[in-house]
């Protein structure tokens, strides 16, 4: 009986494999994958799983819980993320141009829904809870905005870009950004600013416009700080570099402990799973936003460099893809992704080492958090898509 089933399965599998071989042969773009890009993303995710385990196993053990609790959940997200990445490559990325308004409006709808139905976690209404799973619409909105802005500027690729195009783009960007600011999630808001910057830069918006925009942005930032529209703790966070006295003591504590953790790693680290700062949870949120402290403490300067090196490879491949793209749309998509990853890595690691304010952004691929991981893989899928189809 068992024998028969086995034979059946094997024959079924053979049939499937034959079909798959046919498919592979038929789709030429699959021959132009960027293995280095995928590898760096997967390596970073694996690195992340290890670090998440290190950050959480002791606490879970102390509470008598499954030490792999976080790791298992992250593995599920990784699986979903890889599937999402593959799915992103199945259709020609140029088809996304047509879909972009729908994706954009869909993401706006989700961002609206989260304000109405969302769960408040760490002071922000950023999470939708569906059937026991939490997810952050803003992570998907990043992808949607990149596609939308890229599509918008692609349409005008032949024109000299005037003020009108700029204003249009800014309005498109402003809608999701306003919704995100309403959560409030200032960190993610800044990521959107980075996306806008990245796309505008590669879309060849005039330098004068960009400088003017930067000045207006800065002035309005200062105005918001002055206007009492932000909660005190937010102002304190953002100005703690200028005015350390006013900083939230919890933040000061966290940043302090994060630096102790990273610094104590010294050159080679305290050893995997050996970090006391990590194990004893001196740094809060060290499986999510402050996961870099685990890397720093346990693996030292060498391990941190390895991690940052993987990001450098990833960004190098992404910029290369932007340069190699056969059209403006592809370049802009890749540029937006570069902006997201580059900005998040810099802000996240910069926050952990104390040169950036505490803004609560995950480290892409590494931090615990399903939506961020899936969103990151979707963006890798986008890059792959652009790369694969550069000749077709």
């Amino acid at each position: 009986m068992t024998q028969v089933t086995y034979n059946d399965e094997r024959s079924g599998r053979r049939a499937r494999e034959a079909v798959q071989r046919q498919w592979r042969g038929a789709s030429a773009p699959s021959r132009h994958l960027d293995p280095l890009l995928v590898l760096s993303a997967l390596a970073l995710s694996g690195f992340g799983l290890l670090m998440i385990f290190s950050a959480t196993f002791f606490r879970l053990e102390q509470q008598g819980l499954d030490t792999l609790f976080y790791v298992n959940r992250q593995l599920v997200s990784l699986g979903v993320g890889v599937v999402g990445m593959v799915a992103m490559t199945l259709f020609d990325y140029r088809a996304y141009r047509a879909w972009s308004p729908l994706l954009y409006v869909g993401s706006l709808a989700l961002l609206g829904l989260v304000l109405l139905q969302g769960e408040v976690i760490n002071g922000s209404k950023a999470w939708l809870v569906i059937g026991g799973f939490q997810f952050q619409p803003s992570e998907l909105a990043k992808v949607a905005l990149i596609i939308m802005l890229a599509a918008l500027f692609h349409e005008r690729r032949e024109e000299a870009l005037g003020l009108r195009a700029l204003v249009e783009a800014l309005v498109v960007a402003a809608l999701p950004m306003a919704l995100i600011l309403a959560q409030p999630d200032f960190g993610t808001f800044l990521v959107f600013v980075a996306i806008v910057f990245g796309v505008l830069l590669l879309a060849r918006v005039r330098v004068a416009f960009m400088i003017a925009l930067a000045i207006i942005g800065l002035l309005s930032f200062v105005a918001v700080l002055q206007s009492n529209k932000l909660a005190d703790y937010q102002v304190a966070r953002l100005t703690s570099f200028i005015n350390p006295e006013a900083a939230d003591p919890d933040d000061v504590y966290t940043v302090n402990q994060a630096q102790i953790a990273i610094g104590s790693g010294q050159l080679a680290g305290q050893g995997l799973f050996e970090g006391t700062q990590t194990k004893l949870a001196y740094v809060p949120e060290n499986q999510t936003d402050f996961i870099f402290t685990v890397v720093g403490e346990e693996l030292g300067f060498l391990g941190s460099s390895l991690l940052l090196g993987a990001f450098v490879v990833l960004l190098w491949r992404a910029i290369r893809i932007a340069a190699l793209s056969r059209d403006t749309f592809g370049t802009l998509l890749a540029g937006g992704v570069v902006a997201v990853f580059g900005f998040q890595v810099f802000i996240n690691v910069g926050m952990a080492v104390g040169i950036m304010p505490v803004t609560g952004l995950p480290l892409p691929f590494v931090s615990y958090g399903g939506t961020s991981l899936i969103g990151s893989f979707l963006m890798i899928g986008l890059l792959l898509n652009v790369h694969m189809r550069r000749f077709s």
Binding site: I262, Q266, T276, L280, E297, F301, S305, I319, G342, G354
Partner: protein, 668 residues
């Protein structure tokens, strides 16, 4: 708009490439910044941070050694240890939430918030030390505190600590004493040099006198803690060395008996009518307090020592509440913390006559056969001195004078001694004073309890010094008093001649009055010397010290000296004391006692208070096993209210049938 598409496209491409280069450079520069910062943190400053991390994670905590036990002579524990859940608070860690946290924790523990604040404010405790606010906190509350500590109860700790346990409640409270936080003054004392703020030390009783024996050595425990200071692992342990046990000479059974007899006796005295001539006459005796001591006359060991009113040492566990402390300190509550057996001195009254009799016999003013008259009143020049009774009791020998406590016999002896002393030109010593001092009166006995009172044996030297100290006050009062008034004359005399030892002083002293003051313990020790044939021991409570390794060091009895009284004369005095019980002033109480008892009643005037009742005794008279001294403040006559307590105690000690405490006769 543009002239040609082709160059424009090329320019566009150029521009894109330029901008990609710019983007790349931006990314590279940001990463260079991160690497540079990491290099600084981890490689250049790494060592310093590693030290900080170490300091973060490891905490050293001293571990209180369980204190040694206090045992009775048969090894039964009087005070031992138990582990109790103690909840402490550290307001510094609560930040600006202190008010809310303290309110919540007080609610949870069911203690008034005021009490919690009170304990925090206690200046005797170092501000750095968590302050214990509740002892014996139930398990479910401790679990609740643990669960909610990070959110609702920062700075609130629950620990299982060894605390003192009193299996017999307040039994021997004055002897064992109590514990408390070490004071600033003690910390400065070289005796306590290895103590730290917040340590608990013996504040009173044996807990204090044997502090260094009982304490043991603190252990050190190194913990790994997380950022909420929760212990996650124990790294190393220097185990605490428990304190040594102290076996005492106390007999728990006797102690309970004595305490109960004293309490009953004192309360009984409050219902007895004061038929005397003193200030309380017509009413009943106030009898606010009393003391009782039982000594083993062959060693000086304290078998029982009681003071009434008493207190509850349990109340000091985990820090005494200021409410209870203030109650104990209030004079209106008769200062229950004072061990009246050793820390209070009183005029001894007629129990002192044993000393006067010994002085008279030793210096030849009396022989065992000589007789002196015992009139109801006795004159020296124009000054009249009364006996305790107005009846003339005829001629009596010295032992008879003790039996009937005849004051006038002793007045006459005092007059003769004083006259010789005055005429001796310095060659004749002070008979009564020297004798009393040789009996251990007027000086601390050296009992192993803190704050023992010396009492007073006056004399020429003493009086002169006293006068010099107080002369100014006498003279001012003499000037202020109306001229020709009694007070005016009195103070004028005191101002001019108050420093001289007059005949009246000797007369008063001979019956234990005037300035004489003794502690019940001193009297007991003196009677122990009579009982054992003249050896004066140092009264003591410590019998042996048992170290944690099981070795025992016995504390040998110590001989202070011999009474300067011949065996024969001592026998005369002992005979007199036996007859006190069988047919003398205490016969109403002891006349039917199945075992021969030797004793002496005392009724000490201490105006304006009601007289203090004394009874000093030992039994069996022919083979003394126990010395029993009882004293009731403002309890009237010794035969009336002190002897009945001693009877009840002796019944218990000797295993006799027990009787109710009944007031005795209204004799001396």
């Amino acid at each position: 708009m543009r002239p040609s598409q082709a160059p424009a496209a090329a320019a566009q491409l150029e521009s894109t490439r330029l901008r990609l280069t710019f983007l790349s450079l931006l990314v590279v520069s940001l990463f260079v910044l991160l690497f540079a910062r990491l290099w600084f943190l981890q490689v250049m400053a790494g060592e310093r941070y590693a030290g900080l991390a170490q300091g973060n994670a490891v905490r050293s905590v001293s571990v209180t050694a369980p204190r040694g036990n206090l045992l009775d002579r048969k090894g039964r524990p009087i005070v031992e240890n138990r582990y109790a859940m103690v909840v402490s608070v550290q307001p510094e860690e609560m930040g600006d939430r202190a008010d809310a946290v303290l309110r919540d924790v007080a609610d949870l523990l069911g203690v008034p918030l005021a009490d919690v604040r009170d304990k925090i404010a206690d200046s005797r405790v170092s501000p750095l030390q968590p302050k214990p606010i509740a002892v014996d906190v139930p398990q479910d509350i401790v679990l609740y505190l643990h669960e909610n500590r990070s959110t609702r109860f920062p700075g609130v700790y629950a620990e299982s600590l060894p605390v003192r346990d009193y299996p017999h409640g307040d039994t021997a409270a004055h002897v064992v004493g109590y514990l408390g936080e070490i004071s600033e003054a003690e910390l400065a004392d070289p005796d306590y040099e290895d103590y730290r703020p917040g340590d608990t030390i013996g504040w009173a009783g044996l807990e204090r006198s044997y502090e260094h024996v009982l304490r043991g050595a603190q252990g050190l425990r190194r913990y790994e803690v997380n950022r909420r200071n929760e212990v996650v692992a124990e790294l190393a342990d220097v185990l605490p060395t428990p304190g040594s046990d102290v076996t005492t000479t106390l007999d728990l059974k006797a102690q309970k008996l004595v305490e109960s007899a004293l309490e009953h006796g004192v309360r009984k005295a409050r219902s007895v009518r004061d038929t005397g001539t003193g200030p309380g006459r017509g009413g009943t005796y106030k009898a606010p307090a009393g003391a009782a001591v039982v000594l083993d006359p062959s060693t000086g060991g304290v078998v029982a020592m009681a003071s009434y009113p008493t207190f509850r040492p349990e109340k000091f566990v985990g820090g005494v509440s200021s409410k209870y402390w203030n109650r104990l300190q209030k004079p209106a509550n008769d200062l229950p913390l004072i061990n009246r057996a050793a820390q209070s001195s009183y005029p001894p009254g007629s129990v002192f006559k044993v000393v006067s009799a010994a002085a008279a016999l030793e210096h030849g003013y009396m022989t065992p056969k000589t007789e002196l008259p015992c009139p109801g009143e006795w004159y020296w020049a124009s000054q009249r001195f009364r006996n305790w009774t107005t009846a003339d009791m005829g001629l009596m020998t010295i032992d008879q004078a003790l039996e009937d406590s005849c004051d006038t016999v002793f007045y006459e002896l005092a007059r003769r001694m004083w006259t010789d002393e005055e005429n001796g030109g310095g060659k004749v010593g002070e008979r009564l004073v020297e004798q009393a001092k040789a009996w251990g009166l007027g000086a601390v006995t050296g009992l192993d309890l803190p704050s023992e009172r010396a009492g007073v044996i006056p004399g020429r030297e003493w009086k002169k010094e006293f006068w010099q100290d107080n002369r100014r006050s006498y003279c001012t009062q003499a000037q202020r008093a109306p001229e020709g008034s009694y007070a005016g004359d009195l103070f004028a005399d005191l101002c001019a001649n108050g420093g001289s030892w007059r005949g009246g002083d000797s007369v008063n002293m001979s019956i234990g009055q005037g300035d004489v003051q003794t502690t019940p313990l001193q009297v007991a020790n003196a009677f122990a010397a009579i009982a054992n044939g003249g050896t004066l021991y140092r009264p003591h409570l410590g019998a042996a010290i048992t170290r944690p390794d099981g070795t025992t060091e016995p504390l040998e009895p110590e001989v202070l000296g011999k009474l300067p009284v011949s065996r024969r004369h001592l026998r005369v005095i002992a005979d007199g004391l036996e007859r006190v019980a069988s047919q003398g002033t205490a016969a109403a109480t002891f006349g039917d006692f199945p075992v021969p008892v030797a004793g002496k009643t005392g009724t000490a005037e201490f105006k304006p208070k009601q007289p203090f009742a004394w009874f000093a005794s030992y039994a069996p008279a022919d083979d003394p096993q126990y010395v029993v001294v009882t004293m009731v403040e403002e309890g009237g006559g010794g035969s009336l209210n002190a002897a009945p307590i001693a009877r009840r105690i002796l019944e218990g000690l000797l295993g006799l049938e027990t009787t109710e405490i009944e007031p005795g006769a209204s004799t001396d």
